[in-house]
């Protein structure tokens, strides 16, 4: 029947029946009024017939749903404590899963949007003796395969990301100071190969890739929007990168490089002139290009590999001996399929781990509901005996759980948004990578909460309705009694308490460790005053400064800075205190054998001017500090810090010993003084690395042959102020820009520097705290469930005991005995786990702070108190048992 019969139609039929019946009875000899009464009597309850008709024709599910939801809301608000606990616990679990899903979703979105024609997309990876060795190829190799391989429709090359200094932009709202930017070198077809087009303007021509004509550049879409306010007039304008003027000819497609920090795309041939540190372009041993290709129609990966093998064997003959084993591996699915597979594996692992948390949350909730079902068995019994079908009661109970789960789900989605944002800050991706609460995430959250509600609600609902009516109304405690008799501590249900408790303890311990670490740096801190110490640095090597100009600039500026009011002293150094030095190179002491391998002793190096230690405010421990007379051409001298002196000469006088870099073939340098240890705050566990200090004028000599990021003559400025550091900072910037207005100037106090270094540490400790709190909530719910269940099971027993004269403390001890054991177990396991972990960590990390007793005790105490509170809530119910009431129920 596809149309619905109306209620009036049914009523009319009943009326017709009554008239027909009455007619018949009249014909049998009754009076009309008697006949009508008899007909109605024979029909029975007209209302019930109408009700049954109503039920048969309407979509009763909806009716029931509305009523069930209303009833469930009433039940849940009545037991608010339970509802809040359950919702919070579940929402944390759902929130965590949804946050992870949000991130994975964002990554997948960006990945899939970037490359068209994914099926024919392959990566060309470098291989050695047929085994995949690395991802990148050299530029000559790329040229060779691009020009000779016929299997490919297009071959695209892209470099790593390089840092640049963008010169001040002329005019308008875009600001006038130089800034740090990043960019990649690309082949001319970097957009068209993957089926993309420039958003505006054009891409490079093939000639421009080879650097014919004026140098050109494309902007990344996100960078264009952010930095140039999406102004189309940028086309044809000039930007200065590393002191080279480039013409902007276009903006890349919005999908290209979303989530990447590159702001610029440059032709490959520009590399040597823009980055003067190395000519990667013509160096066959420099592997710096990620090469992707797109197969011709009807060409398989295998065929392409065969062609490449032939080509590479031809290429090998032209190569130097040490590259003779090289080949190229064609990998389906883009340049880095391994990374993608790893990403998927990682995502799966994370999702699995997160679902375990959710599973624990659900099981604990199921336990709570089971306990509630015991308490509600009279209510359910009454409903069943009044004629509700079992399915109807199960529906009702499930509705309650669904309401809980959906509430928790929406709360969890809000929580996940916050969590995903903080994770994003921690991961620090580029522009264009953002997390949204899009329909996929919302769908995921909803499905997850419904599934959760169903899974933790179904079993208790079935258990609660599986009983005979007589038994239920008799209120005998036998329902589920057989399960409560188990006295074993190692049951799965108890595991649900012990495991999260232990995990929570470990996580909170980790969070505590981080907090202590931050505290230590702030409270005890470095051995000098950081608030009035200012750091100023430039990237002169990127801005076209050669050695003579750099030295001139630095000397000139140093004199000017010394004259600024409020500046008490100024020093130059290649690396700041509390940061890493010039590089981690092997150190050689005079007389020892030359070992240049990785296992030989390494040290950090810092090139400093005279007055460095005076400016920091840390006194030289032993010997003398550098003076102005330690310069180029004077006797070669160095200083070492206490850690280095202790390591190399534990019981000897370090002064007078001679050292040099193991890799450089320079002369030995004599140690003239021992410097104090300055803590390195960049690493979480405060290691002080052995450090060698070299005088400014001799740095080039000392580091000869070593490859450093910065040229050894390029220094940072360290300024000690007496007055307000903010005012001095402004003056410093002004002074530097007065020398050269196109310079990128960084100025910050050492305190600010510490703050930025501490950021990830703080975030980490916050994340660990959140996870630890989550585990704690799980554990609490589990404890609450077990207690509530036990108490509701033993109500009668408790009643009898009270009637026989048991006192409150005895009753409390009776019901809490078991949970106390569980809590003790959980904390003990957690402590053991934390100890083992810290042992492992301290063997891996040289100067791991280790567990301190204060953190241990406070975390264990916190956990204990919370757990006992969770068990006390239901235990109080046991105290309120009224013996008269319990025994009367019998």
């Amino acid at each position: 029947m596809w149309w619905r019969r109306k209620q009036q139609d049914f009523n009319a039929e009943i009326e017709a029946h009554l008239r027909l019946e009455a007619d018949e009875l009249v014909s049998e000899g009754l009076t009309p009024s008697d006949a009508q009464a008899a007909a109605r009597r024979a029909f029975g309850n007209r209302m019930s017939a109408k009700e049954r008709f109503y039920e048969s024709t309407h979509w009763m599910l909806w009716d029931h749903l509305v009523r069930d939801v209303r009833f469930a809301a009433r039940v849940l608000t009545k037991d608010a404590r339970f509802s809040v606990l359950a919702t919070v616990g579940l929402s944390l679990g759902i929130g965590l899963s949804a946050a992870i899903f949000t991130l994975i979703n964002a990554v997948v979105q960006i990945e899939t949007a970037q490359v068209m024609d994914r099926d024919s997309n392959v990566g060309l990876n470098r291989s050695v003796k047929g085994l995949r060795e690395g991802m990148e190829l050299s530029y000559p190799d790329y040229r060779f395969y691009r020009d000779h391989a016929t299997s490919f429709r297009a071959v695209k090359a892209e470099s790593f990301r390089f840092g640049f200094v963008m010169g001040p932009l002329s005019g308008g709202k875009t600001g006038t100071e130089a800034e740090d930017v990043e960019g990649r070198f690309e082949s001319d077809n970097f957009l068209s190969a993957s089926g993309l087009k420039p958003a505006i303007g054009r891409s490079f021509s093939q000639e421009e890739e080879q650097l014919v004509g004026p140098p050109v550049v494309l902007l990344q879409f996100g960078f264009w929007k952010e930095r140039f306010a999406a102004d189309p007039a940028i086309l044809g304008k000039t930007v200065v990168l590393n002191a080279h003027p480039l013409t902007v000819i276009g903006v890349a497609d919005a999908r290209y490089g979303a989530g990447d920090k590159s702001g610029f795309y440059l032709p490959l041939a520009l590399q040597p002139s823009l980055l003067d540190q190395a000519d990667l372009l013509n160096e066959p041993e420099e592997h710096w290009l990620m090469v992707e290709a797109w197969l011709q129609p009807n060409v398989t990966t295998r065929q392409a590999q065969a062609e490449i093998d032939v080509l590479s064997s031809a290429l090998r003959r032209t190569k130097p001996a040490n590259l003779a084993d090289e080949g190229v591996f064609v990998s389906p699915g883009g340049v880095n399929p391994k990374k993608k597979r790893e990403l998927i594996a990682l995502a799966l692992a994370v999702i699995l781990a997160v679902s375990m948390i959710l599973l624990i949350a659900c099981s604990n909730l199921a336990n709570v509901l089971l306990a509630r079902a015991v308490a509600r068995r009279r209510e359910i019994g009454v409903r069943l005996s009044l004629g509700a079908s079992r399915a109807r009661v199960i529906c009702q109970l499930l509705t309650e759980n669904m309401l809980l789960a959906l509430g928790a789900g929406s709360l969890g989605l809000l929580f996940s948004r916050w969590l995903a944002k903080s994770l994003l800050v921690l991961l620090d991706p580029g522009p264009g990578f953002d997390v949204h609460l899009d329909h996929r995430v919302i769908l995921y959250g909803t499905v997850l909460s419904l599934a959760a509600g169903f899974s933790f609600g179904l079993a208790p609902a079935f258990a609660a309705t599986r009983m005979s009516l007589a038994q239920a109304l008799h209120a005998d405690g036998s329902f589920g009694a057989s399960r409560s008799k188990t006295k074993r501590i190692w049951s799965p249900r108890n595991g649900l308490v012990i495991v999260p408790l232990a995990v929570s303890l470990m996580l909170l311990m980790g969070a505590g460790l981080m907090v202590r670490c931050v505290q230590r740096i702030y409270l005890s801190g470095p051995a000098f005053d950081t608030s009035r110490l200012i750091r100023m640095w430039f990237r002169l090597n990127l801005q076209g400064y050669d050695e003579t100009r750099t030295r001139q600039f630095q000397e000139n500026l140093r004199e000017r800075i010394a004259a600024i009011p409020g500046v008490t002293s100024v020093a130059l150094a290649s690396a700041m205190p509390l940061s890493n030095g010039m590089g981690w190179f092997p150190l050689l002491t005079e007389g020892s054998a030359i070992t240049a391998g990785d296992s030989s002793p390494h040290a950090d190096y810092n090139i400093v001017s005279a007055g460095f230690f005076k400016t920091i405010g840390a006194a030289v421990v032993h010997g003398r500090a550098f003076t102005m007379s330690d310069r180029e051409g004077s006797p070669a001298v160095v200083m070492v810090n206490q850690v280095l002196a202790r390591t190399y000469w534990p019981n000897e006088e370090p002064i007078g010993k001679r050292v040099r870099l193991a890799t450089a073939a320079s002369t030995f340098f004599e140690i003239i003084g021992v410097a104090p240890d300055l803590e390195d705050a960049k690493r979480p566990f405060n290691t002080v690395r052995p450090t060698v200090y070299v005088p400014y004028g001799q740095g080039k000599l000392f580091l000869k042959g070593a490859r450093t990021d910065m040229p050894p003559y390029q220094m940072q400025f360290l300024i000690r102020t007496s007055g307000d550091p903010v005012r001095v900072k402004a003056a410093l910037r002004q002074e530097a820009l007065a020398r050269d207005g196109s310079l990128r100037v960084h100025v910050q106090t050492i305190g600010e520097m510490q703050e930025t270094m501490m950021g990830p540490l703080k975030m980490m400790s916050m994340l660990l705290s959140v996870l630890g709190a989550l585990a704690l909530v799980m554990a609490s719910i589990g404890i609450y469930a077990i207690m509530a269940y036990a108490v509701s099971q033993r109500t009668r027993e408790i009643g009898i005991r009270v009637a026989l004269g048991a006192q409150r403390p005895q009753i409390l001890a009776l019901v809490m005995h078991r949970t106390m054991t569980l809590i003790a177990c959980g904390i003990a396991f957690g402590l053991i786990g934390a100890l083992v972990l810290s042992r492992i960590l301290s063997s891996a990390l040289a100067d791991f702070g280790g567990l301190d007793s204060a953190t241990c005790v406070s975390v264990a105490l916190l956990l204990g108190v919370v757990a006992i509170l969770a068990s006390y809530m239901p235990a109080r119910k046991a105290l309120r048992v009224d013996p008269a009431h319990v025994l009367r129920c019998e």
Binding site: E13, A16, H17, G44, A49, F53, S56
Partner: protein
């Protein structure tokens, strides 16, 4: 299904048999609800009593299953009434249920044995 009336001779219908009886009654042609109830009572020689209140939801149920069809018409004594008639699938259902019932009744009869 509860019985109506005081008579001990009358038997309440077994669950599930009402549908069968309704279908059987309609095999002689279209009939309205009251007629169906009367027919069952008369053909069972006043032993089976159909609760009028349950009859109409049952008719409704059969109609939704597509075994019977209904339309408003006029009765012999000029009353408006809703007339039901068997459909093709209703006929099939009747044959099926009848044979089922006969087998059940015969089996029970064999178990109970001859009358004592």
């Amino acid at each position: 299904m509860p019985t109506q009336g005081p008579s001990d001779e009358r038997i309440a219908l077994l669950q599930g048999t009402l549908d069968l009886l309704i279908l059987r009654t309609l095999i002689f042609g279209r009939q309205h609800g009251q007629g169906v109830a009367r027919a069952i009572r008369q053909q069972s020689e006043e032993v089976l009593l159909v609760d009028h209140g349950t009859l109409y939801p049952a008719l409704q149920r059969l109609e939704e299953k597509g075994w019977i069809e209904a339309e408003w018409g006029v009765s012999t004594n000029n009353r408006r009434a809703r007339f039901y008639k068997l459909t093709r699938s209703g006929r099939k259902q009747l044959t099926h249920e009848t044979s089922q019932w006969r087998r059940l009744a015969a089996a029970i009869g064999r178990v109970l044995g001859p009358e004592v």
